[in-house]
């Protein structure tokens, strides 16, 4: 059973613009996959499709479960998604409550929730910030906190939409280390080649709603013509 199985999936935005065009993709458990591509390529839409927020034609399966309304509850326990803007992800008045939100919705007992929140905070390096409100955190800390909100649910799969956006080099490196250390299946969308190269086992190039290439980082990231053709650049190694 694969972590993600997308077969012939197509999806349009509400105004009619096609977002994804007959896309097929399979991701095994434990893989760290980077979705790279120019802006508007469809990377975010692909991630939305995996999380059950994009209704389209074709089939999407998460951990063997078909993405339907009935299965959403079970799917959300298995797949955690981190949105592009951490301000959208952190909506509670304190960090503790944000990270506890998921486990509370899962109906876990109080003691286990405290344990999970502490664990998640420790993993992302924010153990002393539990009582802080999100607007008191820096951009890097917010990013880490957003990931913690997903980690506390102990998902098998985590999707992240441009997690390195507007991070300074120090925080980007911290994030890289964190993501590398995670054992979950990771599916990341990014425009940053260096970031992708540092973490990925596998790179999927997306452009104009279609999968253009799907290979190892070495194969794709050294292919200058391919990258330039799709509005990207070579990573500086």
């Amino acid at each position: 059973m694969n972590a993600i199985d997308i077969r012939d999936f197509s999806f349009h935005y509400p105004d009619g613009t096609p977002a994804l065009n007959h896309v097929s993709l399979s991701i095994a458990h434990g893989e760290k996959v980077m979705l790279i591509g120019p802006n508007g390529a469809g990377k975010s839409s692909l991630l939305l499709a995996m999380s059950g927020f994009a209704q389209g034609t074709g089939s999407v399966q998460v951990d063997g479960l078909k993405v339907t309304k009935r299965n959403l509850k079970a799917i959300r326990r298995v797949l955690g998604c981190c949105l592009e803007n951490p301000d959208d992800q952190l909506f509670m008045p304190s960090l503790y409550e944000d990270i506890a939100f998921g486990p509370l919705n899962m109906g876990l007992p109080e003691t286990e929730i405290t344990e999970r929140v502490t664990q998640a905070l420790a993993t992302v390096g924010l153990a002393d910030k539990a009582n802080k409100p999100p607007h008191h955190l820096s951009a890097g800390q917010k990013r880490a906190a957003a990931i913690a909100t997903v980690l506390s649910m102990n998902p098998k799969i985590i999707t992240l939409d441009e997690p390195d956006g507007s991070l300074d080099p120090r925080h980007r490196i911290q994030l890289q280390k964190l993501l590398k250390s995670l054992t979950q299946t990771l599916i990341l969308a990014t425009c940053n080649m260096n970031f992708a190269y540092a973490i990925a086992d596998r790179v999927v190039l997306v452009d104009q709603g279609q999968i253009v290439a799907d290979d190892t980082p070495q194969a794709i990231m050294t292919h200058k013509l391919l990258l330039e053709e799709h509005g990207l650049e070579l990573p500086t190694l």
């Binding site: 999380s51 927020f53 959403l72 509850k73 959300r76 326990r77 955690g80 998604c81 949105l83 803007n85 301000d87 959208d88 992800q89 952190l90 909506f91 509670m92 008045p93 304190s94 503790y96 409550e97 506890a100 939100f101 998921g102 509370l104 919705n105 899962m106 109080e110 929730i113 405290t114 009582n131 802080k132 409100p133 999100p134 607007h135 008191h136 909100t149 997903v150 649910m153």
Partner: protein, 265 residues
């Protein structure tokens, strides 16, 4: 964007910060009631009400300048109202204060008392807010059976006020950098409302994404709340002292007698 956050002091640590938020809120509420029920012509009693909050601010390591600035900001409005007493109550009276003797009017006494009361209740409120996390206050409200939907609303509001103030600032700043002169009122209005409109649309988009984030973490309509409080020994001591203090104020107030509509004949 870095804010001079009104609530930044609430996240510090001090003996006052560690007090149970229920105790602090209850004391502030009753204290404010006590201040309001003090007699109208006794500025000295009104001054005594400053002592409690002052102590809390100092022990809570809240800079007094911060409190003073906040009070100064809101004082003018109350001052205008207090000063009306000078106009409308010219009943003559003699004020004795230690060595000072002052032939004045009741209006002056009223004005001074009103101003002193205002400062007292402001100090109490600032002491509460700058030593208590807002999220803790919300939990107290929930504990005190305030409707859940209001508590949720307050939580979201608190969380996103700063985000949207930033957005509004950015929009205004973008406008200012492109302003060379003042335009006709109609145009200014159109631009101003366009700015407001654009922030509104951004807000609507943000709310869609927040809903997505909530649903992605399993939210299906049932709201849950973590954490509970325990009253510790220090909290009971604080409650005891505060009750004594407020009690003394009320006793003094009773001695003086409430002055409602006693009119000179």
């Amino acid at each position: 964007m870095h804010h001079a956050h009104i609530d930044k002091f609430a996240y510090q640590d001090s003996p006052i910060h560690r007090l149970d938020p229920r105790a602090k809120l209850a004391v502030t509420l009753f204290g404010t009631l006590a201040i309001a029920s003090l007699p109208r012509f006794s500025p000295d009693l009104a001054f005594y009400t400053w002592l409690g909050p002052f102590a809390l601010l100092v022990l809570g390591r809240i800079p007094l300048r911060f409190a003073a600035k906040h009070i100064a900001w809101t004082l003018p409005f109350v001052l205008v109202l207090a000063l009306t007493s000078l106009w409308y109550d010219k009943t003559p009276t003699t004020i004795l204060f230690g060595p000072l003797l002052w032939q004045s009017t009741l209006g002056w006494l009223k004005c001074l008392t009103l101003t002193a009361k205002f400062i007292g209740s402001m100090l109490a409120l600032i002491a509460l807010i700058s030593t208590t996390r807002f999220s803790d206050l919300l939990m107290v409200l929930q504990r005190w059976h305030v409707p859940e939907i209001l508590v949720i609303q307050l939580g979201f509001l608190y969380r996103y006020i700063f985000v949207l103030i930033d957005k509004a600032h950015h929009t205004v700043r973008a406008r200012t950098t492109r302003t060379l002169k003042r335009l006709a009122p109609k145009q200014e209005l159109r631009i101003g409302t366009a700015m407001i409109g654009s922030v509104l649309i951004q807000s609507l988009d943000t709310s869609t994404r927040i809903t997505q984030a909530m649903q992605a973490r399993g939210f299906v309509g049932q709201w849950h709340s973590p954490k509970q409080f325990d009253m510790k020994r220090g909290d009971w001591l604080f409650l005891g002292l505060a009750t004594l203090y407020i009690g003394m104020l009320m006793y003094l107030s009773h001695l003086v007698g409430s002055v409602n509509s006693v009119r000179p004949t």
